[in-house]
């Protein structure tokens, strides 16, 4: 590798306002994401200003590769806006976020800002909507950009700054805008690479690597088992997106990983082996993608007679066989499956955890502020990929840099994940199991993108400057739950059982469990049954005292929440705020002080009116808000003594909300006139529990609140009676 060559290519643009006397940083490297701590406030202000201008300059320079106005208005690919949108979009993003932060009071150009607000970029997951756009001219957008640039520049001069800059600082939002523009620097470069050649031209600031040759023979390198620590906390010194926060610790079993990224040369063998045409190599989703697109080779490859060429951002070149193959997840995965099928070894992509293990064993660290990176990243060398054997990192090459690397891991929130209020949908819509993480960054990844902590994820069929490295590992890939419960009822119950207190009403299942435990007195507390456990809070709470607690509910979806908490310790859900607006909640057993009892609980799906015989021998049975939801409450109550030890306790709680939709009128045990007189449910309980039970406490009303929206709640009183089995 010729570093001098590389250096010549890098020509960071200098901003108009740049005052060279203020700059302590060398200009050789494209400015890194700022350190948020420090003591020199004015120096920090200028560092951020320089970061801001350098970012906008570089972004605008990207558009200089476009040839003529038409290049801005013609869509490179059908599912994306034309590039004019992306030119405006990053500025509008500033306006929106600065308004949220209270840094500006009024929109700068409401019409443009409405047009440029919501795009369909490679970070996005929606299909392009069909709104008709009447785009402004390139000059108009450039004038708009300048206006925003001056506004932000003024804000950077005027807004009080204190260090370190935290989530709540208005400066966080300024950096958010800059980092957002850096993301689009990369994604717009991909769009330009997808534009037809006639619309683009080479540019001295975007010169690709000139080096290529025979690809090295790839090989597997053993990686010893080890622990990886992922995540970020809010005192970290660099800006991060929401998905980076929280923590995740994993024991990574030993595995083997390819020394190099898979090169074009190595990938060609898969094509030649009819890999694209062999269904069995493709996962189901990949098969559908291939069938839909009829792909026969990677998207940036061009077949010219017997020759292969490669499309770069602004030009086509003869296939550089030693550069990394750029593919989507499906293609990478099919390649691995082909290798597994032909070798008998368990080839696959690395997990995110394994990538971090590689990072650790390669001895890497974040891109230094004043020196060049250890890989082809952050524009430090080329405006393109380069050979896969150019940047050794420990025993490996390109653990970071060159191209992003697909993983097996759909993005998921770490425990402690938190959403920044000024960008509450940066990540959450991608927690759907359909967006896989890419790691390591590409030649153009800069700012936050280049950090070890960065976590970007794309739909598996999307293209970026992304390739892959394969691993051989015998351990099954663990998929992390990324699900936010959005079903209205389940979310409401999650909050009801594990969430906040409203109207000062204490947690209901917890209160009942406490009443039940108190009622046990000195009785044996071996086994308890939480019948109609719903989301399972009382099941866990009873396990504080009982050796073993069974939670049973008719709804498998409800007990799913208990099962998930017992298994993963975490439960996530959205809550309706107002209209379509939602807020995100994460609850953990640790946070609830229940982590120590999770091994004592077991959840089962079951019908309280037709319970399996094995559910017996309990010292306590708790049935909360259950009896008025059963189709035959008397059937349960007349036989419940068979499941309860003599002397055992039965706690019933119910608002007695009898409804025909749940319980046919003839099966109600109270709440009607009988023999001419009012016959309440408590009368019915006395009758149906008969001589086998003695009422030892209650009736007493215990309130509960179910949150429906930010302002609307169900507020109910449940009548609690505690009975002792006496016969």
């Amino acid at each position: 590798m010729n570093l001098n060559d590389a250096r010549k290519i890098i020509m960071p643009a200098h901003s108009a306002s740049e005052d060279s006397t203020l700059h302590a940083l060398p200009k050789r490297v494209f400015p890194r994401t700022p350190d948020l701590s420090g003591s020199n406030v004015e120096a920090k202000r200028e560092e951020i200003r320089r970061y801001f201008h350098a970012t906008l300059d570089r972004y605008e320079q990207l558009f200089e590769t476009l040839q003529g106005e038409e290049a801005y208005f013609k869509k490179p690919i059908s599912l994306r806006h034309p590039l004019i949108f992306y030119l405006g979009h990053t500025s509008t993003f500033f306006t929106n976020k600065l308004m949220l932060a209270g840094l500006i009071k009024e929109r700068i150009n409401p019409k443009m800002e409405s047009m440029f607000a919501v795009g369909v970029d490679e970070m996005s997951w929606d299909d392009l909507n069909t709104t008709h756009y009447d785009w402004p001219s390139v000059d108009e957008v450039r004038a708009y950009r300048l206006k925003i640039r001056n506004t932000v520049d003024r804000i950077i001069s005027e807004v009080p700054l204190s260090l370190p800059i935290g989530w709540d600082s208005p400066w966080w939002t300024i950096i958010m805008g800059i980092e957002h523009e850096r993301i689009h620097l990369e994604t717009s470069s991909v769009l330009i690479r997808q534009h037809t050649l006639e619309h683009v031209s080479a540019h001295p600031a975007w010169r690709p690597c000139g080096k290529s040759g025979q690809a090295p023979q790839n090989q597997l390198i053993h990686v010893a088992e080890g622990t990886v620590y992922l995540g970020k906390n809010k005192t970290d010194r660099t800006y991060g997106w929401d998905n980076e926060y929280g923590s995740h610790v994993a024991e990574v079993a030993a595995f083997q990983a390819s020394k190099y990224l898979v090169s074009n040369q190595e990938f060609l063998a898969f094509i030649d082996a009819n890999g694209y045409g062999t269904e069995s190599f493709w996962e189901e989703e990949g098969r559908a993608w291939r069938c839909h697109t009829r792909a026969e080779y990677p998207t940036f490859w061009i077949r010219q007679g017997a020759e292969w060429r490669l499309r770069l951002m602004t030009e086509e070149i003869p296939m550089p066989w030693d550069w990394p193959a750029e593919v989507n997840y499906h293609e990478a995965k099919a390649f691995c499956n082909w290798k597994a099928a032909t070798s008998g070894q368990s080839f696959r992509l690395p997990t995110e955890d394994e990538w971090y293990r590689l990072y650790d064993v390669a001895g890497l660290s974040d891109v230094p502020h004043t020196e060049q990176a250890a890989g082809n990243i952050h524009f430090d060398y080329f405006a393109s990929s380069c050979p896969v054997n150019e940047f050794p990192q420990g025993e490996f090459y390109d653990v970071v840099g060159n191209v992003w690397q697909w993983t097996e891991t759909p993005i998921y929130p770490f425990e402690g994940f938190d959403i920044h209020t000024h960008y509450d949908d940066f990540t959450t819509p991608t927690f759907d199991g359909r967006h896989n993480l890419i790691k390591g960054g590409s030649w153009i990844s800069c700012g936050n993108e280049s950090l070890k902590s960065a976590r970007y994820a794309f739909r598996r069929h999307f293209f970026q400057h992304a390739g892959f490295r394969y691993v051989v590992g015998d351990t099954a890939v663990v998929q992390h739950d990324s699900h936010y419960e959005t079903d209205k009822l389940l979310s409401e119950y999650a909050e009801f059982h594990y969430g906040d207190r409203y109207f000062d009403v204490p947690n209901f299942p917890k209160s009942l469990a406490e009443l039940a435990i108190a009622a046990m007195g000195g009785k044996p507390c071996r086994k308890a049954l939480d019948l109609g456990c719903a989301s399972g809070r009382a099941t866990f709470e009873l396990a504080r005292r009982f050796d073993e607690v069974t939670g049973i509910d008719f709804s498998a979806r409800f007990i799913g929440q208990g099962v998930q908490l017992a298994g993963t310790g975490v439960l996530r859900y959205t809550l309706t705020d107002e209209g379509d607006l939602v807020v995100y909640r994460e609850r953990t057993l640790t946070g609830l002080g229940l982590d120590a009892v999770r091994h004592k609980v077991a959840f089962y799906q079951g019908d309280a009116c037709n319970l399996k015989p094995l559910f017996t021998g309990y010292d306590l049975i708790l049935a909360a808000n259950l009896i008025d939801r059963l189709y035959d409450p008397a059937k349960l109550l007349t036989s419940i003594h068979e499941r309860l030890n003599l002397g055992g306790i039965l706690l019933l709680a119910s608002p007695y909300t009898w409804l025909e939709e749940h319980t046919k009128r003839e099966a109600w045990i109270g709440g009607f006139k009988r023999d001419g007189e009012s016959f309440g449910t408590l009368d019915g309980l006395n009758e149906v529990l008969g001589d086998r039970f003695k009422l030892i406490q209650g009736p007493k009303e215990v309130p509960f609140v179910i949150r429906e929206t930010r302002r609307k709640f169900q507020h109910t009183l449940s009548e609690v009676t505690i009975w002792e089995r006496v016969a």
Copy 2:
């Protein structure tokens, strides 16, 4: 009339436990309903005991008219239980009510009590249910009756008694049981009268009047206008049923009333004039009844060749032409319509108020305790009707006694109506406009039935020992509202607006009105608009300060509640307690301190998104929980300044519960992402109200609670913003 004869017929039975030395009351008259006040507790205890035994004796004596066992088990009419039921029923009633009162702890015979609890008697409104009954034998029921009698007797001996006896006294419930048995004494006598003759026989204790002759010529007597005072309060000295309580004052215009009850003779002219066959004489409901039953003459009349005979309780006699005609309301009404048609005068039945006016002008008072009554009532003379010219009362005859008299008035609750918790369905199911009051009592009416304050009502097609007196009056008959709102939503809103406070949350519409009035400061307060007024509470509350308040709601059913309150001052509704069980509520403007402002309010049905132009010139517009229920909230809000005076105040309150079922998503004014950012409803309000309004107070959350059942509530926060129209 031969009073000696009459006296001989009356032979009150003496109870087994009767101790003649304790009885100060003469035995000549059947015991009257006891005076609930007094100072001699032991004497009162014995008076009640005597009242109890005398009532049961007389009731059992009634069954002595039955011939053989079959008479007990064969239904006299298809829609009634056989008489065995009624023999058991009055005892079971004691058990039920004594249990409610806590005077007994356990049922005496659960099986019989289940059978005998709910009957279909003439007080009832339901069709006979089809349950199969396996009746016990007469001896078994007699033994059961004895058991109850002894139990009650013991209770009378043992339960502490303090005077006066009020609603909450357990003694009230004892007297309730006795009065209930007295009602059945009368209704069972009607059933026996409906039994075929073979099942009954004459009995010396039930000897009918032996006197009859030519009927007197009836005539109209002028009654001067006057005020009548109806109702009873809880400090009254006699037992009353729920419907008697509260008060009602009426100015009765002058009218003419027939001197005598309509005799069989007088009624015959109607039959002979083909009255039964002439459709135009019959009201719609009466026409349906006649068509269904094919009646051609009164039910107790028998046509034998050219002769007419009359069925009495135990025998048939040649038609006593001077006795009152016994008919149902429909027949009485048709008779009046015939008389009106043939005379051109406005003949009709009296209203309840007019009957009370007759009572007053006749100078009547309640049956004396130790002397005979002034009419054929309370068994004081005969076990049947007697000639209509036997008992003069002032200028009239038979204002009380002989037979009940149908009125034009469906029973309705007086203001202040209250329900006794031990018999909560005595009257309420008859507040349906289909049960007309009968007044005056018959020869067998005794105890409470004989009191001036008594109010009994039957379906208009039912038969009792009932006839009628006609009046000629030019004033229209006022029908009183007897409606208890039972529609779930309307009832809930009635309670929400006018009812109790739950969870200590102050009344919501009242709070908003107070906020609005406070916000007015020194501004003119002429006209206010309560838009989306629902049940109208805020409309009334604003009228405390404004000269004129308009309440508008899309739902005519909701504004009906405001209209009713403004018109009648009272609103009644049921609330679901638990299952089918309900409680009754009555709210009055007086009770709410709003009586003085009722003339300032006006309610209109209207669409807030399409209001008529006349609704303008307001100093205040209040829109509570409205905007998120409109199909086009922006349409209202962008034009609302046209209805508000400059400087006027707009108070908006809403929980912003946007739902597609009310407002299509595209019409929401907030609660969604716009241009990529959260756009709340308050943002939308700011935008849509624009420069014409200035936010002068809020946002502030004001809570409200809607009661769904005794234990289940909606508890919601409504965001209040107060805006001043500035342009």
